[in-house]
Symmetry: C2
């Protein structure tokens, strides 16, 4: 675990350096709030009660990030934020009830801008770890490859047609480079393509060698009517998102692209760990009793 934590330390330093160099504003996490990310897969809400008020524990920094960018002069923001997700699926080897996410959002960015930003970040982090953690990688028996850019891009509908529902795992096991899967029908805030309704301007980044999803994100909806309509289509109650809707109604919500990647999943990939639990000091595993 010492070698794993050394690699985590080097990776995080490279992330902070990259963000600072790119002028990205560092904001603090949000842990509890009147709303949280609805996500697109079934996760039970983690709730906490303060003076009779029911608060949600953060599942991700969406949709806070576009609100922050609408209020600040910053061109981009990031945070390293813990997220709590009471996943219903168990035994996946890549889910924790609690994990840390590097959550990023860029103002006036298209999906291509964000994807390029992330590819450069990945190269920067992987290069730093490969260069400075030779001893640790050797100790862990991990041969780490710095990927070449640009990463391959696949369209989800085409992958589903070709490989079925388990497309991500299948494609992840096929290659040795990170790749993108674009066009996912999911959360109300991921932007629908105005030129091609039913298509979405979002993306997942996937690790190769079967490690699966690295990052999830997209261009964001910022127009009031469109957000409302997307909420209705997704069956999301607009009430908790009042703050977001009010800013959008005033035309003050800025267009953004963003995404988040899990620190433990990145460390798992960098170290080649069999299970996500091997990349966390106090792992909490869905379905299991919490020991510490």
């Amino acid at each position: 675990m010492s070698a794993v934590m050394q690699i985590q330390t080097r990776a995080l330093k490279a992330i902070h350096d990259y963000m600072f160099e790119k002028g990205v504003t560092h904001i603090m996490p949000v842990i509890m709030s009147t709303f949280t990310d609805p996500l697109s897969h079934k996760v039970d809400d983690a709730e906490i009660i303060y003076k009779g008020q029911r608060l949600k524990i953060t599942k991700s920094l969406m949709p806070f990030k576009p609100l922050v960018l609408s209020a600040l002069e910053s061109a981009a923001i990031y945070t390293v934020s813990p997220c709590v997700r009471f996943e219903k699926e168990t035994g996946t080897k890549r889910h924790l009830l609690e994990f840390s996410q590097v959550d990023i959002e860029m103002k006036d960015a298209k999906k291509e801008d964000f994807m390029q930003f992330i590819e450069e970040l990945i190269v920067s982090v992987f290069s730093a770890v490969k260069k400075d953690c030779k001893k640790e990688l050797e100790q862990l028996g991990r041969s780490l490859r710095v990927p070449e850019t640009p990463f391959k891009v696949f369209k989800k509908p085409e992958l589903v047609e070709k490989y079925g529902a388990d497309f991500e795992t299948i494609v992840s096991r096929m290659g040795s480079g990170l790749f993108w899967i674009i066009d996912h029908k999911r959360e109300f805030y991921d932007k629908e393509d105005p030129g091609k309704l039913g298509s979405y301007l979002n993306y997942d980044l996937v690790y190769p060698e079967g490690f699966g999803e690295a990052l999830s994100g997209g261009e964001r909806e910022y127009e009031y009517e469109q957000i409302l309509s997307r909420m209705k289509r997704s069956g999301v109650d607009p009430a908790p998102y009042r703050a977001l809707l009010e800013v959008a109604k005033e035309g003050m919500l800025v267009p953004t692209s963003g995404g988040g990647f899990g620190v433990e999943r990145m460390v798992r990939y960098l170290t080649g760990a069999e299970r996500i639990e091997d990349a966390a000091l106090f792992p909490k595993i869905p379905g299991q009793e919490v020991l510490i």
Copy 2:
């Protein structure tokens, strides 16, 4: 708020740079656990229930940090961790229900080692902000002074005798440099002076100009019998701390010193903000309804 967040970004970068340069291992936050810091002042537990198991939300990374150092080869660790504290006192201008804490712990360190480490960190952070955020400081009307080291050290029992219970605020308003207050009777894990029972090898760092406490920490108890006896004296139920006690009983708990400082309080001081709410994007104020 844009200027405040720029200063926060610069300060955090200086913190990460300093930690990396000093070889401190970066660990991830803990949000929920079977136990949390009992603290020495009255704070309601924030609880969450997962599959019938009652979990505490983190108030600080004590006593996790000595456990981590006992398991890793690292000489020191740090994290930037959100903490939730349902404070009973309201209207203080320096408490938030939720804040981020830079939590640090050093193996085999005495209090003097840790205090010097922090003084150097403070000088490094303040110098970076003063140098790189001239425009922002001017915009906020803040004249920031980089303090000289070593900081003054006061003994709590002597301050209490001289100024009464409100000693911290009174002394904080008197000077223009940061200072230490040592020897506080508080949590079971802060080490009692073996040579002078009833005295404690711990410390608070305090901002001047009335801004109050910056950091709290101490040398830690690491011997099984002494921890048990301190728990008994503090009226702390040992049951939730089983993991800590088991490691201590085996003689595997390493001696450490450490402490934590609030990011929002540091940003408040750096920016000269009247209230802590002015240094946070989504401030949650004790006693008030949470709006976002």
